[in-house]
Amino acid sequence: MTDEQAVLRCQDGEREAFRHLVERYQDVLFGTAVLMTGDRAQAEEHVQEAFLAAWRGIQGFHSERPVKPWLVRILVNTVVSQRRRRGVSTVSLEYESEAEDAARPADEIEAQHERLAIRQALAGLNPEQRQVVVLRFFAGLTVPQLAEATGVREGTVKSRLHRALGQLRDQLTTGDAREAYGHGQ
């Protein structure tokens, strides 16, 4: 079943077709939510809310359009509106990794270190910057899709991305974002 067929069937009220869409996109939504919030439990709640909203709104969705950016946009809205409602929650930097305790060879341990460093650098970004980075490189949205999902102009997306990438780079090389940011070179 293609996405489009699935959407058409959902519009006729078929739950099985929706299950199909859920299973196809739950990982990308969940991952995005975790990366945005840093909290697995919250992320799951957001993803559920987003899918419920998608089901409610699917009648108005044009089946020929790509599904993923649409779902991601709904998710972003869910997360952002939650954030507004609850106030800016502190994002926990260390979302627990389920594979953490497995025994690893040395090169993997190094890789693990790098991953932790990048996580830390990501956590150092402000929410908007983190959001564009996650949507672009984790969820795989294009810049125009990202602009639509976040409700800002493409130019703004590009400049946010550029600054976010610069800050990440600085932080990863100097290990101190606060120092690097604004004093870079």
Partner: protein, 709 residues
């Protein structure tokens, strides 16, 4: 720098790798669907338009456009019609029309880059489904003669060698498809006829007819934003009569009209806070809504015909001519056969429609005399047989009880109701040849089953006895979801007249015994007038209103059903705008031409004619010698005429209408002294105010700059 990439690109690569490595840790819990499923609410059924849109788009996407072999266009058209047809009987005409329009829109979205050969287009059954791939490969000549189904094609593909090239004779463009759909839809559904039925777009309040099977989705689900206007009303813009140069054509022929429904509708709408639909304005019915106090003729033989000339309040180069026709009042004690055909469809449940219809029917019953007979028919999807009462004396309990049981359910089949009504009336006519025969239809006109066009309905109820015709009176009720065209045309072509009622009290008054006796005594049938202007006096002329009553000069000699039936004591008025030749005005009585009236005497079937000169003395519109009622009539005529040209406007566009109405308002104020005490004056004053407001929002009058152009 080691890399050929920008620093950003390096970082992007790092991030992509990072996220790929993290992906395993970021998987959603496996039971997400299970916990989600329980929380999904059931979907409301999608509306038919959305459903059709989806189906066609899906078909297009899946490469089996229901197109191709049939010449694409026709097949799409046919499927569109099929879908529209399948919407079922409970869907109203208006809704179907919307659906069809939607389909046309949808089809514009469908990629129809199909290539079709000439042979194919010629003649192929419609229920064809062929894939694009197949068509490219199949020698089309081989399959045209058969009913082409997917299976057949597959068979053919197996058997026949693949052709390299299909001869390309014609490319079916989207325009062709859309055009075909329109043709097909009109032809098959008979939803939209050329002459009648223009369905307006507002569907906000269209009540869902109480369907017997599955109710259609409520209109509010179907269509967006409720508008501030009554929904789903049908009016027709009959255009405007032009100025005619007398040197080229000095003769004006028209059927008389005693209807005043257009005015009553407008007043009701305005009183309920709605904008008056310009298309609903028929100036002649506005003019005829007022009593000009014409004197009765000296004898019973014919009419008192009067004429007046007065300066034009809006244009100093022009004049207004009023011609009034006052029928004699004749006592007539011939008995009546009355057949009440009552609309019991779901739409009648809206507001107090049923109450009005019941009150009107009951008032008529009480106004009937012992020598009269009355029958009752209720109709919805079909006739309600257990409530049908054949002709009986008016105070028979079964008649009273049947009327009292009028209640809304089902959809509307005016044709079925009229058919039975006509059958009963015909039988009564044969039983009692000495009686006049009335079939009285009470409805909101929202026919949605079988024929929905007045001519088709009339055809089935066609009455061939010219000597003692059935007279079809239509009584309209309701504001939203109201079909003015159907009821007006039914009466015009059914030897009758048309009234609109907006409350039970008005129903009782209209059909009070005194009114009913006059209304039910026919005085003149097939009444038409012909004005011949003197080309030496009148340079050009224009009739106000009567757009759908104007007829060819040649037809004046013929007795025709569609000409007007006038009851005893009826008055009809016509206004002309005329331009006089310079120098003809000398303050004396002026002869402008002549007017001839022809009609058929109902009793005897004898044709009669009466002719007088059209005369008048030129007086300023506001001058003291002018009858205030003539001035009022002139204002009503011009206001209705100008307003009905909105939103385009007449000669000077909408801004011209706006300034004309403002001037007419001032002229009307000047009549407050002599006429202010009349209800009719106050009602019209209010109406004109609303009209002026509406015209102003359309386009305010252009301010005078004071500079030359």
């Amino acid at each position: 720098m080691a890399s050929n990439f920008s620093p950003d690109q390096d970082m992007e690569g790092t991030l992509r790798r990072h996220f790929a490595a993290e992906a395993d840790d970021l998987r959603a819990p496996t039971n997400l669907w299970e916990s989600l499923e329980d929380r999904l609410e059931p979907h409301p059924a999608p509306n038919p338009v959305t459903r059709i849109r989806r189906k066609i788009l899906a078909a297009a996407k899946q490469n089996w456009l229901p197109v191709m072999v049939t010449g694409g266009a026709v097949a799409v058209a046919a499927s569109a019609v099929l879908v529209a047809g399948n919407l079922g009987q409970e869907t109203s005409v208006a809704e179907k029309t919307v659906v069809v329009t939607e389909i046309q829109e949808v089809i514009k979205e469908v990629p129809v880059e199909t290539v079709v050969t000439k042979e194919v287009i010629k003649e192929v059954p419609v229920e064809t489904v062929v894939t694009r791939e197949v068509i490219k490969e199949v020698p089309v000549e081989a399959v045209v003669e058969k009913v082409v189904t997917q299976e057949v094609i597959k068979e053919v593909v197996k058997e026949v060698e693949v052709l390299k090239e299909v001869p390309v004779e014609r490319v079916v463009t989207q325009e062709v498809v859309v055009e075909k759909v329109v043709e097909k839809v009109v032809e098959v559904e008979k939803v939209v006829t050329k002459e009648v039925i223009v369905v307006k777009e507002a569907y906000s309040e269209a009540p869902a007819p109480a369907a017997t099977v599955a109710p259609p989705p409520a209109a509010s689900e179907l269509y967006p934003a409720p508008t501030a206007q009554p929904a789903d009303t049908t009016f027709q813009d009959y255009g405007r009569q032009p100025y005619v140069d007398t040197a080229e054509d000095a003769v004006s022929t028209f059927s008389l009209d005693t209807d005043r429904t257009s005015y009553q509708l407008a007043l009701t709408w305005a009183q309920q806070g709605y904008d008056i639909e310009p298309d609903s304005v028929r100036a002649e019915e506005w003019i005829n809504a007022f009593d000009y106090g014409y004197a009765l003729p000296a004898d019973d033989w014919g009419f008192a015909i009067t004429s007046d000339l007065v300066a034009h309040p809006l244009d100093e180069r022009k004049h207004l001519v009023r011609i009034g026709f006052q029928a004699a009042e004749v006592p007539d004690d011939r008995p009546l056969n009355v057949t009440l055909v009552l609309d019991a469809s779901g739409s009648m449940g809206d507001g107090n429609r049923v109450d009005i219809a019941r009150a009107a029917a009951e008032a008529i019953r009480q106004s009937l005399r012992p020598q009269d007979r009355v029958a009752v028919v209720h109709f919805t999807t079909d006739v309600i047989h257990h409530l049908t009462v054949d002709h009986r004396v008016p105070d028979d309990y079964s008649v009273e009880s049947s009327i009292a049981q009028l209640a809304p359910h089902g959809s509307t089949n005016v044709q079925a109701g009229l058919n039975l009504g006509v059958q009963l009336a015909n039988r009564a006519r044969l039983d009692r040849p000495e009686a006049y025969n009335y079939v009285i239809l009470m409805s909101d006109g929202v026919a949605n089953v079988d024929a929905t066009n007045p001519f088709a309905i009339l055809e089935s109820a066609y009455d061939r006895d010219a000597g003692n015709p059935l007279r079809l009176i239509t009584v309209g009720v309701g504001i939203t979801n109201y079909n003015d065209v159907l009821l007006e045309q039914l009466a015009q072509h059914g030897n009758g007249w048309y009234r609109y009622l907006d409350d039970p009290g008005q129903a009782q008054a209209t059909f009070s015994r005194a009114n009913w006796l006059a209304l039910s005594t026919p005085f003149a049938d097939q009444t038409r007038a012909q004005v011949t202007w003197d080309p030496d006096v009148v340079k050009s002329w224009r009739i106000i209103g009567y757009e759908n009553r104007v007829t060819s000069d040649a037809s004046f000699a013929e007795d025709r059903k569609e000409f007007a039936e006038l009851p005893s004591g009826a008055a009809t008025t016509v206004f002309y705008e005329v331009e006089l030749h310079e120098g003809v005005l000398r303050g004396d009585d002026l002869t402008l031409g002549k007017v001839e009236l022809r009609w058929v005497v109902p009793d005897t079937g004898q044709s009669r004619s009466q002719q007088v000169e059209v005369t008048g003395r030129d007086l300023g519109f506001g001058s003291a010698g002018v009858d205030p009622l003539l001035r009022l009539g002139g204002i009503v005529a011009l206001a209705a005429d100008r307003y009905s040209s909105l939103p385009r406007g007449a000669d000077d566009g909408a801004a011209g209408v706006s300034s004309d109405l403002a001037i007419l308002q001032e002229e009307l104020e000047a009549l407050a002294g002599p006429l202010g005490g009349l209800d009719a004056y106050q009602d019209f004053r209010f109406l004109l105010e609303r009209m002026a407001e509406r015209a102003y929002t359309e386009a305010p009058p252009e301010p005078r700059s004071g500079y030359s152009r």
